[in-house]
């Protein structure tokens, strides 16, 4: 089987984009969660490191790396070490089947013109401005009593790397000016912004998502701690119950698209519903499938173990649940997989019910800028969903465990089934 070099490079680029985004979700969301909870509880929140406490996550990450890695004497060593991996791998790979922008054809040449020069110049100025801000903040912060050497060093490293990026951009600008136009490798190829456009799209998501429960269950069992074990048992019971409602609530969207591929699901939502021949509203799935949308969002909270459904770690009852015995980077991996699963679930909610990368009332051209705009729209929608996750966590208290199981089986499962029937009727009536 000969491997096309252009395709290989494009796939590598896509994987780099998706992985980079997934790995950066955790530090950003930790900051959003801590500042957001402070906002909702009328506190200040972390504000010591960097402007608005923005570099707090970097300090947290360093602390995770530098802490001692403790393995309990009674623990099952192999499974105890592997459990965080079981959680992290599904969280990292599921996003592969989600389209993150409009497909575009790679143009032949990139010519040097005023627009490109202006854009690059703007980017250089932005980098220099950020570098100046960081440098000023670091200098100001250095004299404070709370300053440690580590914080100051981090500040200078960020400054220097920002200046470095600005210099690289400047070099690119000068090279472009002297060359006039640059031939783009892989011209004429269609760049589809999805890592793996497989026929079974959504099924792959559920297959991988169902694997994440093993991370929690194995961690709980391998720790040899009764609280951990209870957390793991709760996690497996909860996730298996809510997976049914989660899967069934997506059936409506798949029926409307007539395909399991998420690209088709998004493509179907780019049109409009016309009401009374005058009002055009975007044909997003959340309108005809409102029931399915609600069931999916609530089940997504249960599936990612977020409050009000965080029974696997319920700190008032189980110390810290399945990760009670974990420390250092192993704990950080659980932490990362929780936030990545949150990001993946937000991406799925947006793709299935909120139009994916579609910008309402705007027809994205099949060019690089059309891709860029649609990707930014997708990112904005995901960010809003992620904020909803944080918002709900700090607003709604934890339920009781029996209520969780009861509403999962007796409320959300029937509602998801009703949604399937409603969507089938709408499709038969020709409205969807």
């Amino acid at each position: 089987m000969p491997i096309d070099l252009t395709d290989a490079v494009m796939t590598a680029v896509k994987i780099a984009i998706v992985l980079g985004a997934m790995l950066n979700i955790t530090p950003i969301m930790v900051w959003v969660e801590r500042r957001g909870s402070a906002l909702m509880q009328d506190r200040v929140g972390p504000n010591r490191i960097g402007p608005l406490g923005l570099l707090q996550s970097i300090a947290d990450a360093l602390k995770f790396i530098l802490k001692e890695d403790v393995v309990p004497a009674q623990a099952h060593r192999v499974l105890y070490t592997m459990a965080p991996l079981f959680g992290l791998i599904p969280a990292l790979t599921t996003i592969a089947v989600v389209p993150f922008g409009r497909a575009f054809v790679i143009p032949d040449t990139l010519t040097y013109d005023s627009g490109l020069a202006f854009g690059l110049f703007g980017a250089i100025m932005l980098m220099l401005l950020l570098a100046a801000g960081t440098a000023a903040a670091t200098v100001k912060f250095r004299t404070r009593p709370a300053a440690t050497r580590l914080n100051v060093v981090v500040g200078w490293i960020v400054t220097v790397s920002l200046v470095g990026v600005a210099l690289v951009l400047l070099a690119a600008l000068l090279a472009m000016k002297s060359a006039g136009s640059v031939h783009i490798p892989g011209a004429g190829h269609l760049f589809e912004p999805i890592v793996a456009d497989v026929n079974i799209g959504l099924l792959l998501v559920f297959a991988l998502a169902s694997m994440s429960v093993y991370g929690l269950a194995t961690a709980g069992w391998a720790s040899s701690n009764k609280y951990s074990l209870l957390g793991g048992i709760r996690a497996s019971a909860q996730m298996i119950s809510y997976e049914l409602a989660l899967t069934l609530s997506t059936v409506g969207a798949l029926m409307a698209a007539g395909s399991l591929r998420l690209v088709d699901v998004v493509a179907r939502q780019t049109g409009y519903f016309v009401l009374f021949d005058t009002v055009k509203i975007p044909a997003w799935n959340c309108l005809p499938m409102f029931l399915g949308f609600v069931v999916f969002v609530v089940s997504a909270f249960a599936e990612t173990n977020r409050t009000p459904f965080d029974f696997a770690e319920a700190d008032a009852e189980l110390v810290a649940g399945y990760h009670t015995e974990y420390s250092s980077m192993k704990f950080a991996m659980f932490f990362m997989s929780e936030y990545m699963a949150m990001g993946t679930m937000s991406a799925l909610i947006v793709t299935l019910f909120l139009g994916g990368w579609d910008i309402p009332y705007y027809h994205e051209p099949a060019t690089f800028f059309g891709f860029l705009f649609s990707a930014v729209a997708f990112l904005v929608k995901i960010s809003i969903m992620m904020f909803v996750f944080v918002w709900v966590r700090w607003t709604i208290p934890r339920l009781k465990y029996d209520i969780l199981m009861r509403i999962g089986w007796k409320v959300f499962l029937p509602l998801a089934l009703i949604n399937v029937v409603v969507v089938a009727l709408l499709i038969a009536a020709g409205w969807v």
Partner: protein, 174 residues
């Protein structure tokens, strides 16, 4: 060549993990090894150009059934059990039956000609399987669903009988 190497890697992991399932003393490790074995089988389905079947294999077996197995094992806390050889005759018969089955399988596989996989010979898309299930095989499909329903009702009746007696006991105690 690439596909063949993938096949051998995952065939090896399937066999190794299958052996771990029956040979390991710890039931949790056995259950997790069975999960890995099922996962390797799913890769086999993908190599046979049946990705739908592969996804269902992972969702149904590893995502649902094995989670329940693990749930029960962890709930009963069946760890570190070292059972003595209490039934040597049965164990001997079990080993013999297993070995006979394995040897006969190898014998007949060696006799049969090497199967040739025709690419694209079968339509394994979700659409095709759906049409088959709801048109050609609608009767067996419904029969299986009634069987499953009967099993669920049976399990509920059995568990409910226990709980009513417990309730009666507590009422008598009052």
């Amino acid at each position: 060549m690439f596909e063949l190497s993938i096949f051998f890697v995952f065939a090896a992991t399937a066999i190794v993990f299958a052996l771990v399932v029956i040979l390991h003393r710890n039931p949790v490790v056995s259950a997790l090894a069975l999960v890995a074995c099922f996962f390797s089988l799913a890769v086999m389905y993908i190599l046979l150009e049946a990705p739908f079947l592969a996804a269902l294999q992972v969702i149904v077996y590893t995502g649902a059934i094995m989670v329940l197995f693990l749930f029960v094992i962890m709930l009963l806390n069946l760890q570190h059990q070292h059972e003595a050889l209490t039934r040597p005759v049965q164990q001997f018969l079990g080993w013999m039956a297993g070995a006979t089955f394995c040897l006969s399988l190898i014998f007949y596989l060696l006799q049969a000609a090497a199967p040739v996989m025709v690419s694209g010979a079968y339509d394994t898309s979700a659409r095709a399987i759906g049409f088959k299930l709801f048109e050609s095989y609608i009767l067996p499909f419904e029969a299986v669903s009634i069987l499953l329903l009967a099993a669920i009702v049976g399990a509920l009746v059995l568990s409910a009988r226990g709980s009513t007696t417990v309730k009666g006991d507590t009422e008598q105690a009052r």
